[in-house]
Subunit: 275 residues, 2 copies
Amino acid sequence: MKKLKRSSRLVEMTQYLLARPHTLISLTAFADRYQSAKSSISEDLAIIKEVFEEESIGELHTLAGAAGGVKFIPLMGEESALGIMEKICLKLEEPDRVLPGGYLYMTDMLGQPELLADVGRMFATAFSGKKIDVIMTVETKGISLAYATAACLNIPVVIVRRDNKVTEGSAVSINYVSGSTKRIQTMSLARRALKEHSNVLIIDDFMKAGGTVKGMMDLLYEFKAKVAGVGVFVESGEVELEERLLEDYISLAKLTAVDMKTKQTTVVPGNYFKD
Amino acid sequence: MKKLKRSSRLVEMTQYLLARPHTLISLTAFADRYQSAKSSISEDLAIIKEVFEEESIGELHTLAGAAGGVKFIPLMGEESALGIMEKICLKLEEPDRVLPGGYLYMTDMLGQPELLADVGRMFATAFSGKKIDVIMTVETKGISLAYATAACLNIPVVIVRRDNKVTEGSAVSINYVSGSTKRIQTMSLARRALKEHSNVLIIDDFMKAGGTVKGMMDLLYEFKAKVAGVGVFVESGEVELEERLLEDYISLAKLTAVDMKTKQTTVVPGNYFKD
């Protein structure tokens, strides 16, 4: 790269850091890349850090010493998150989203890049303190959320299938009981998709009693992997407490009431915003 | 937002633009946001534009006049793209990727955020001249590529299902014949997922004869939608010319030979790099 002026260097460093979240970049690497003294690089990083933190884009963690460097951690401040989530809840309350069975149509929203980027950053913030190696979800509708979160955390996604496809090689399958419908279902994961002892964040779009998430937890047990956390986009509040199959999860929104006659629903920010 | 110095403003503007690809932002909006004169904003944008183009991150299109402003178009230069794709091809050639039936295991690679960001930018570049309203893919393995491309183009994704789920409402289903296995299969798309007359970019992970892509094209016909382009990550070269069901597509890589005995494969950059 040709030598840049400070103003150009700040632009380049900003894009470089944003494209590499959770990646340690040494001062030496930056100094080489920009043919500049480490002291200049440090000054640049101080400017970037201040803007990122002021605008609640994320944090720049600086590690001192020979092995030191800088790492960009994408985060979203709680105030911004709540503001965005309140708008999302209003959208989720649109009456034509109510489907037979009390389900909520939200596939369109889960296809919007802007919403996904925001929600991914919320999940990344919610689980920022945890050691996570990989994100797991089950096909199909949680996949976009899983990738959006993975992009912020810079970790891979594994997708649990509802069948066992030929193109995945040998797989581990389990049966699980859907908590709300009580039906027995199957899910499977390619054996080579997940290393043993991985720390896994489970992400899903919707949770009623939690049967699907519980199924994924059982599957993780087969892989000797650990659940580092569970994050759901919308949880249904229409579940009796004793039917609830898990306690420890984060929800970003909660569907508290569905009136099938008037097609009116109430959606409020989830338990993530309650503490 | 509090008033920033130029250096901080450059950082903030860079992140603001990167987070909003293909979105027209007026000079007035920037001037208000940063409480700065439009002339200063224009100077900042000139610096950002130069770095983005020099480093082949993308283009900043500036539109003059009262309705004018600036738009960030993520692109990847052909040289960078070819360098990245050659590394991807080497990874795809690893012998333990060959699965029964001559399929290639690449689910792990399609779960890596960095690879996805690169490939998404390649597809976005390949189709940058087309009018595209929405990206379509079929579950499951093409989904991550579709979202990565959609993030660059700032358009939504619709996912064709292999079954018709209760949570999607009424759907249009079609039968199609898989070109290589000649089996009849079904795919369906929720009626409300796609507006009539949309311009649709089809993205998929793997193409043999093209039966699945052809199925999606037939489905688009039912929605009175237009195919704006077809992009596949890997195409199989092991298809007789007369079996090929479509001509007009872009592939990023091509699997030219699979030796099931030695598990050796040859993967080369696809037709995108041929002209």
